[in-house]
C-alpha cells in the first residue's frame, strides 16, 4: 500500500482495514506508521547488501559477475517490488530522516561494488576504458528500477529473460558491427 499510494497518502485506517482490524488495534503491534515503513525497508536493505557481497566475492569471471549482479538486481523486482518502489518514489524524502540513514549507506555500498567490478573489467582489457563506470551502473540501476512499472510476471515472460536482454544490450550494444 505504501508503494502503490505513497506513505503519506496511505492512512493507518486503510492499513488496518486491509488486515481486517481497526486503526487503533494496529498500535498494539507497531508504535507508529513509520515503524511499519522501517520494518519493510531495513530488512530489504540488509538482504540486498548481503546478496551483492556474495556475488562480488565469488570466484567468477568479471563479465560473469556483471551478468549475475544484473540478474540479482532484476530478481528484486519479482521478490520485493514494494520495497523497491518505496525506495524509488520516496527514498530521497525518507533518507533525510536520521532513522533512515541506512538507505544512503546501502545505496553507496552497492554503487561502489558495481563500479569496482567495472573498473576491474577495464584493467583486464575486457571493458572499453572510455566507459564511465558510474554512468554504466546508473543505466543498469535505473533500468531495473523502471522495470517495476511495466513488468508483469507470467510463466512465459520471466524476469531472468529480461535481465539477460538488458545486459546483452549493455555489453554488446544494438548496432550491427562494422556497418557505417
Amino acid at each position: 500500500m505504501f508503494a502503490e499510494r505513497g506513505i503519506k497518502a496511505t492512512t493507518v485506517r486503510q492499513i488496518g482495514a486491509s488486515v481486517g482490524i481497526l486503526s487503533g488495534s494496529l498500535y498494539h503491534h507497531f508504535g507508529s506508521k513509520f515503524d511499519l515503513v522501517d520494518a519493510i525497508l531495513a530488512d530489504f536493505c540488509e538482504t540486498t547488501m548481503a546478496s551483492y557481497s556474495e556475488i562480488v566475492a565469488a570466484d567468477d569471471d568479471t563479465i560473469t559477475k556483471l551478468r549475475r549482479m544484473t540478474g540479482y538486481a532484476f530478481s528484486l523486482i519479482g521478490d520485493n517490488p514494494a520495497a523497491v518502489l518505496m525506495i524509488q518514489n520516496e527514498g530521497s524524502m525518507l533518507s533525510q530522516q536520521s532513522r533512515f540513514q541506512y538507505l544512503n549507506t546501502t545505496e553507496r555500498k552497492v554503487e561502489t561494488m558495481w563500479i569496482d567490478v567495472v573498473r576491474t573489467g577495464v584493467k583486464e582489457g575486457r571493458i572499453r576504458p572510455d566507459v564511465d563506470p558510474r554512468i554504466f551502473y546508473r543505466i543498469v540501476r535505473d533500468s531495473v528500477a523502471g522495470s517495476i512499472r511495466w513488468y508483469k510476471p507470467t510463466p512465459n515472460h520471466k524476469i531472468d529473460a529480461i535481465a539477460e536482454e538488458v545486459i546483452t544490450i549493455l555489453l554488446n550494444g544494438i548496432l550491427v558491427p562494422g556497418k557505417k
Copy 2:
C-alpha cells in the same frame, strides 16, 4: 513542490505561502489542487509529443534520429524536472483518474515512435534483429527518468554530455570487441 514532496503531501497552504498569499486566495486562481497538477502536466505532455514528432519526421539518418531523440529526452530533465518527477512518481495513480487519461495516451504515442525508429534501423540492417525494440526503449526511458535523481547541472557537466555517454553505451556496448 508536487515533485519534491508528492502531490498529497503538498498542502495548499504551502503552495500559497510559496507565492506569498494565503491558501484561501489560491482558489481565486484555481478550482482545486488537482487543477494545478493538471495545468503542469497537460502542457508538458503537449510540448513533449510535438517535439518528438518533429524529430521523427525530420530527414535524418535512423541512428542520428535515435541520438537526437535521446538528447531530447535528457533535455527534458533540465527543462522541466518537476513534470518528469511527478509523472514518474505518481503517474500510475494519476492515470487512473479519467481527467488524466492524456498521460496514458502520451506515453503510448512516444513509445510507438521510439519502437518504429528502432524497427526501421533493423530493416536497414544497421541494428541487430535480435534486439527487442521495447526493451531498448525502456532502457533509454528509465535511464532518462533515473537521471533526474542524481544529475546536478554544472557548467562542466552538461546534460547533453550524459545523453551522449548513454547512447554510446547503448549503441556500441561496453565490451572491447573481439576479446573473449
